[in-house]
């Protein structure tokens, strides 16, 4: 069920990217998509009633959550932060050149 929810969030992000006209809203759409995928990855590793996977003596039989997706999510968050910082910087530069955030008015390239 929650997997389905993450897919719905993903589609909301995609819809946002496809339909919004404001540059920053498009950026937000991308961020929503990234979060949906991170959410999905975390869900993959989740075990009902699991504990943190720290192997010491005496906890051998305990039920662990899968640590690998968590490591993946950390990496993917770092990457998406880098992308986000850069894309927002580009948005600011675009605003300085075109004096608008409206994508329909930012159209010098065509053909």
């Amino acid at each position: 069920m929650l997997f389905f929810l993450s897919f719905v969030v993903f589609l909301i992000g995609l819809y946002c990217v496809a339909t919004r006209k404001n540059l920053l809203k498009i950026v937000m759409g991308i961020v929503i998509m990234e979060y949906a995928v991170n959410f999905f990855l975390i869900l993959l590793g989740y075990r009902m009633g699991g504990v943190a996977p720290i192997v010491t003596e005496g906890v051998k039989e305990a039920k662990f959550v899968d640590p690998l997706p968590q490591a993946m999510v950390l990496t993917s968050i770092v990457i998406s932060i880098a992308t986000l910082a850069f894309i927002v910087a580009i948005c600011i530069r675009i605003y300085q050149r075109y004096h608008t955030f409206d994508v329909t008015e930012i159209r010098r390239l065509k053909g």
Binding site: I26, F40, L41, L44, M72, I87, I90, R97, R108, L109
Partner: protein
């Protein structure tokens, strides 16, 4: 002999040092050229090394062996891509010495360039899905910054468009990697290939489609191509050459080949999908290219068209089709980078990219004129040049597989290619020289050298295609034909 990690480590280290260089331009020129020269030589040194190792070599990072740890895999296909990427990168860095004088912050440019190279080498070498995603993002983020490097209005617009579409592609790829992990509990490509073999599951097909769309966006196959004709012309010329010549192939086509052939295994539906996408890209890319007025934009559309050829060859799937596709990949890397460097040289001297404003430039810029003629003839497939052989092999493959309609279309698009390159030659380099261009000079010598050597490679690979096929193309094709036996080879060896 563990030199494989150097392909990622050297450019990453160089990128770090170059940031510290600041205004010391000569030092950064030296560093970047040394690094790319080293990598180009290393990639050639690996040819005999791989032969002694029976065509596959697995390097476990930090001695964590697969399937648990991350591994770098060197096989025929990876080696072939490494040679293409690093050789082209060397000539482009050589060319940048002269060309990038127009921009400030040359060392920053080089630093981003090296990051992009590190990402591409990583993508080509890695044997792990998540690692693939990380390297893909390194290369992509560096390329976004490089497209926006001039910070003019058009460049920013192109970079934004490119970033949005490419970020969506990355998210789709990550989603698909997650799905595969959920289904198999492994991230190692070889391990995943072993587990999913013979399984037929709806979610598996869904992850396949996500990969196709994600990598299709990166490779700019036609329904997903919208960013390419803006992004490639907007970047500085050496970067256009790198993006069109190498990046879309390393990030898009190579990954499609690796994942579809070696992990999922080719099926009839999949090969038809590739072939149909290829035909659409080929035809519409060509038709869109013919009406362009901007030199670099025309070249960008032509890239889409030529990527179509590669996909058709791959989809065809028999020996000649595959060898033609890989040979065309190599050839496209050489002549498309050559042509983009020519367009950069024209822009350097005249300051314009509009074809109709040029004319007769061969008289004042003989090197650029001659090399661009060689490049144009190669890409249109005129006999002694390399483009002819690769297109011929693809056509052989198609005839052998009995796809006669697609064969006819392939030949027609080849004629179309000739048409729009004749247009380039006619408008830019032949004809009467205009008054206002009478005083311009040929570009600096380093730029000339790099264009001349690329032109010689175009002719050389055309004439010496047989030894080339035996040494680097056949091992690569062997990897494709093994298909999903890849998993046993990697995990067993």
């Amino acid at each position: 002999m563990n030199i494989i990690p150097l392909f990622v480590a050297v450019p990453l280290g160089a990128a770090f040092i170059l940031v510290l260089m600041g205004k010391r331009e000569i030092a950064s020129d030296v560093i970047v050229n040394l690094a790319t020269l080293c990598l180009a030589i290393l990639s050639l040194v690996l040819i005999p090394f791989l032969k002694n190792n029976n065509g596959v070599f697995v390097y476990a990072m930090g001695m964590w062996f697969p399937p648990k740890g991350i591994n770098l895999v060197l096989d025929g296909l990876s080696l072939f891509m490494l040679i293409v990427v690093n050789t082209v990168a060397f000539f482009i860095s050589l060319y940048s010495i002269g060309y990038m004088k127009r921009f400030t912050a040359k060392s920053r440019f080089y630093s981003l360039f090296m990051l992009m190279l590190a990402g591409m080498n990583g993508v080509v070498l890695t044997g792990d899905f998540f690692n693939l995603f990380v390297f893909l993002e390194i290369a992509s983020i560096a390329s976004y910054a490089l497209v926006a490097f001039g910070v003019e209005a058009e460049e920013l617009e192109a970079a934004f468009k490119y970033m949005v579409m490419s970020s969506i592609a990355s998210v789709l790829i990550l989603f698909s990697v997650g799905l595969l992990y959920g289904l198999t509990g492994s991230l190692n490509m070889a391990d995943v290939a072993g587990i999913i073999q013979g399984e037929n599951n709806l979610l598996l097909s869904f992850s396949l489609i996500l990969f196709l769309v994600g990598f299709g966006l990166k490779a700019a196959i036609i329904p997903f191509h919208a960013w390419l004709p803006d992004a490639h012309p907007s970047a500085p010329a050496p970067i256009s050459a790198m993006l069109s010549g190498v990046l879309i192939k390393a990030l898009g086509v190579y990954t499609i080949i690796r994942i579809f052939f070696n992990v999922y295994g080719m099926t009839t539906q999949l090969s038809w999908t590739l072939m149909i996408l290829g035909v659409i890209s080929m035809i519409s890319g060509g038709l869109l290219a013919i009406r362009q007025e901007d030199f670099k934009r025309l070249l960008a559309y032509s890239s889409i068209s030529q990527i179509g050829y590669i996909l058709v060859g791959l989809g065809c799937g028999n020996y000649w089709g595959l060898i033609g596709a890989l040979f065309h990949l190599l050839n496209h890397a050489t002549f498309k980078s050559l042509l983009f460097l020519n367009s950069g040289a024209v822009e350097y001297s005249t300051g314009t990219r509009k074809l109709e404003e040029m004319g007769g430039l061969s008289k004042v810029m003989p090197v650029t004129g001659a090399t661009s003629t060689i490049g144009s003839l190669s890409i249109s497939g005129i006999p002694p040049f390399n483009g002819f052989w690769s297109k011929l092999f693809i056509i052989f493959g198609l005839v052998q597989a009995g796809h006669f309609i697609i064969t006819a279309l392939t030949v027609l698009v080849s004629v179309l290619t000739l048409a729009y390159y004749l247009k380039v030659q006619r408008f830019a380099f032949f004809g009467r020289l205009r008054e206002k261009w009478a005083q311009i000079k040929e570009v600096p010598k380093v730029m000339c050298v790099s264009m001349i050597v690329l032109a010689i490679i175009c002719i050389g690979t055309g004439i010496l295609f047989y030894p080339l096929m035996k040494t680097i193309l056949e091992p690569a094709v062997a990897v494709l034909q093994e298909g999903t036996k890849y998993s046993i080879l990697i995990l067993g060896g």
